[in-house]
């Protein structure tokens, strides 16, 4: 690639946004975004496009339904983000190649085209990584097995057929095919070799943004493969244990990735680990969805779908912001002379994104976790002991996932050092006022709004439920996750509103009281005259502190003093009583001291007996 030439050309070339050849990817991505958005919103019908000559020779054919268009929307959005920040990140055009590859992959209409593009993507990653591992070949082998075994299932043995999705939809897959699909997609998402794959991406790339983008594309492809074969095409297959396998795969991979995120040292590696963790949680949701499809509980399937696509959207878009920010941080570290990037605002953006993506209550990470747990708790229908114990184990592992994800995110934002984070937090007021970084700030704000009003994503996701899954009964509430039959609901925006309201009320009261509170100024310096004392007081007592808080409490709860009169009379009599009983106290004390072990045993025995009495 003519990197040097590109840099030289950039120096002298200043084109307009629409006419410049350089901006074609950006314009194409945004246009694709809009088109897929329109396709999803208006519930357009499924389209397949076999190319006239190329289809016969090479098997190129295209296919578009709601699942495709949802994934394409996410892909276009991520691509547009990366392309628009290409110059700041110092990336070449090279990363457009896997992008286009993934684009075609999501649009491909038959099995051979799909598998061919997948293997190209895999070999591309293999070529990029320096340490050669055997793992891509496991993925390739499983893809090959799928290609060989599926025509047997159709009945066209030895015949070279392309198997478009219309034909694939009519057959039920044997479990072995679904197993190899799971294997291939886990290789793509980085679950199978667990450590090596991630290390390849993170260490060899050394945080280069191309590798991050590659990671994003690979996991998107893997997720698409899993969704296509398990949720869409695998509806007829009766292998329930495979969906349990998917769930277990997701949970175990999430635990391992979370543990690794605590172990590894570099910033980029931590981000990759946390990304794998988020993907694994969503794979768990895919497993749950496919297990619900067997039991055919319509309402729960639509609820699970809502949670799944909400999670997918937030995961992909949120992490493309995280990867972008990490790339910008690296760009700043390598060239600190550039003034346009402020590291403290990068750190604060990362902090906000960590609030969004880890499991904090009203936000997206918690919403996904909440949905997963509700679905898991519904799964053991009929009180089968083994089923329920398995679900209980998965629940416990989910708790561990929550622990490691919160700790991992905290470690991630502390990677830059406590000192720098403290500095960043002190500059927090500049974050909202400065105009730099406006795109990312607006994007993060939009993500927060979407996280609080999940209906925004469901506009896209509901077409998947109706077109692909064939669910007629899609939940129509825009503001909540809800299942009307079981009275289970979670309203993020209301909780956030309550939260903000309470914080504002407390803050307002504290501020009011601070103005009334007696000021305690220790540092009255002798050099300064005391003329503008009030101004000094205003400035110095400008934080919500201990003294002001105590003064506020004293004011608010001053009626407690009225009790002091009652308290006095009570205490007077109590002291009299004590004086009387004090004559015998030392006897009792001596007695207790002599038989203290006996006393303790007796107290324990009394507690146990009383518990057993209550329990009976």
């Amino acid at each position: 690639m003519g990197l040097q030439g590109g840099i030289a050309a950039k120096r002298y070339y200043q084109g307009y946004v629409l006419t410049g050849l350089e901006n074609v990817p950006l314009i194409g991505s945004s246009l694709g975004c809009i088109l897929t958005f329109i396709y999803s919103i208006f519930y357009l019908s499924t389209t397949s496009l076999p190319l006239p000559i190329l289809n016969k020779i090479f098997g190129f054919s295209f296919y578009l339904d709601a699942l495709n268009s949802f994934c394409l929307f996410c892909l276009f959005l991520c691509g547009a983000l990366f392309v628009s920040f290409k110059r700041e990140l110092g990336a070449s055009h090279y990363f457009l190649l896997p992008y286009v590859n993934t684009l075609l992959l999501l649009l491909s209409g038959n099995l051979y085209f799909l598998v061919g593009l997948l293997s190209i993507l895999m070999m591309m990653t293999y070529g990029l990584s320096i340490g050669k591992t055997i793992i891509p070949f496991i993925g390739l082998a499983s893809l090959l097995i799928i290609v060989v075994l599926l025509p047997v299932q159709v009945g066209a043995q030895g015949n070279f057929v392309y198997l478009p999705f219309e034909i694939l939809r009519q057959i039920s897959f044997p479990p072995i095919i679904l197993f190899f699909v799971l294997l291939a997609s886990s290789v793509f998402m980085g679950f199978v070799p667990l450590s090596q794959w991630r290390m390849n991406i993170a260490r060899q790339g050394k945080g280069d943004v191309v590798y991050n983008f590659m990671h994003l594309l690979l996991s998107m492809a893997g997720m698409y493969l899993l969704l296509r074969f398990y949720v869409d095409l695998g509806q007829k297959s009766e292998a329930l244990w495979l969906s349990l396998l998917v769930t277990m795969m997701g949970v175990v991979a999430a635990c391992y990735a979370g543990w690794q995120s605590l172990v590894v040292k570099s910033f980029q590696e931590r981000i990759s680990c946390l990304y794998i963790l988020g993907n694994a949680v969503l794979v768990q949701t895919v497993g749950i969805v496919s297990s619900f499809m067997v039991s055919e509980q319509q309402q729960w399937i639509s609820f699970a779908n809502d949670v799944l696509y909400f999670g997918l959207f937030i995961q992909f878009i949120g992490f493309s912001f995280v990867f972008l920010l990490s790339g910008l941080l690296k760009a700043y570290q390598t060239t600190p002379s550039e003034k346009q990037i402020i590291p403290s605002s990068i750190l604060i953006s990362l902090l906000l994104l960590s609030f969004l993506l880890s499991g904090f209550p009203p936000f997206a990470g918690f919403a996904i976790l909440w949905g997963n747990l509700q679905l898991l708790l519904t799964m053991p229908a009929g009180h089968h002991l083994t089923n329920t114990l398995l679900t209980t184990v998965i629940l416990g592992l989910n708790a561990i996932i929550l622990i490691v994800s919160i700790l991992g995110w905290i470690r991630l934002i502390l990677t830059g050092g406590v000192q720098s984070l403290q500095k960043a937090l002190l500059e927090l007021s500049d974050y909202f006022s400065l105009k730099s970084f406006a795109e990312i700030k607006i994007g993060i704000a939009l993500l927060f709004i979407i996280a609080l009003i999940p209906g925004c994503v469901f506009v896209l996701a509901r077409s998947v439920a109706t077109n692909v899954m064939g669910i007629s009964e899609a939940s129509s509430n825009f503001f909540t996750f809800t299942i009307s039959s079981s009275h289970i609901s979670f309203t993020p925006w209301l909780i956030a509103g309550l939260f903000i309201g309470i914080v504002l009320i407390i803050g307002w009261v504290a501020r009011k009281e601070r103005q009334k509170a007696p000021t305690l100024l220790l540092r009255e310096s002798n050099s300064q005259p005391n003329t503008n004392r009030s101004i000094i007081v205003e400035e110095t007592s400008f934080s919500f502190g201990q003294a002001s808080f105590q003064a506020m409490l004293e004011r608010r709860f001053s009626f407690i003093r009225y009790f002091s009169v009652i308290n006095y009379t009570v205490c007077k009599n109590w002291i009299r009583l004590k004086k009387i009983s004090l004559r015998h106290t030392h006897h009792i004390n001596l007695f207790v001291w002599q038989y203290q072990n006996l006393f303790l045993l007796m107290i324990i025995a009394i507690i146990l007996v009383s518990i057993s009495m209550i329990a009976r």
């Binding site: 708790a399 919160i406 939260f499 709860f557």
Partner: protein
Amino acid sequence: MFWLLTFSVTLLHLMMVLLLAPWVMGFQKWLEAKIQGLPVVPFWFYWGEIYSVNIKRLSSFLTITYSYTSLLPFIALGAAIIAALLVPSFTVGMVTASFSDLLLIIALLMMIPVSFFLVSLRYDSLKSLKLLQTMLVDNLLFLPVLFFVLTIIRFITGSTFLDTVVIFFHQFGEFPLMAYCPLLVVAFSLLFVVWDMPNFSQREGMDGFGGADRGLLLYTNDVQFLVWLSLIALFLWPQSLVILQLGDHYFINWLRAVPFGILAWVTKIIAECFILAMMRSLLLFSSGIYRVGIAVVLSFLAIILYFAGLSGE
């Protein structure tokens, strides 16, 4: 009109919890010190003690400049207050009943140590950072226990909402033993979660702890402690809570039962303080990980007990 009633009841409940929180913490400490034979301030002085000690030292922190980060302790307090709103104390059927999902309550209560940890980033002292980090990890390790508790509640009552627990146990005249036993075990496993909370303010001697927000942090800790105790009290004896429903007949019954509900709540809190003080003085689990292990075993035992009960029917 009914809405206004539920709203006022919610307000009463919230005021009760917020006012009594420091006293309950003080009572707990007083009791523990009495058992261990240590000198202690009487618990009715605790309110004054906690907010008036060391003003001279703390006022030197007031020179910290204003920024958005001073909202962080208020976020912790907000989480504690919302959790207090969601956990019913003496009656169910408050305004916030539709939110009182146990999972949400757990998440809100787990948010408090995280925001404490973020608060500590405001100060230069690394000691307080270390302390709050330890507290954060100690709290997060109890999450499996809490999820097991969630599972048990879901198995028994078919929902994760706290109101349904109370209504479920009201529908039986007698104690349904096989449903009640796992609940009792769960309540005891939750006592291990609150084990370390009274220690929070005993570390005040540490360098730079809490800084200017110290009073606020201590108060938040007290509220959090009382909310946990209320939650355990609900599991200990769910029938003692009163149900507020629409209708004149129900209202009269509710009015009759409210004093009993409040009395039962106070009694349960005192009993829990006593049990906790005994546990803290007598059980020698100094390391946190043992406590986590015992709590996990207990909560898993509750699940097994539940299934044993199913087979016995």
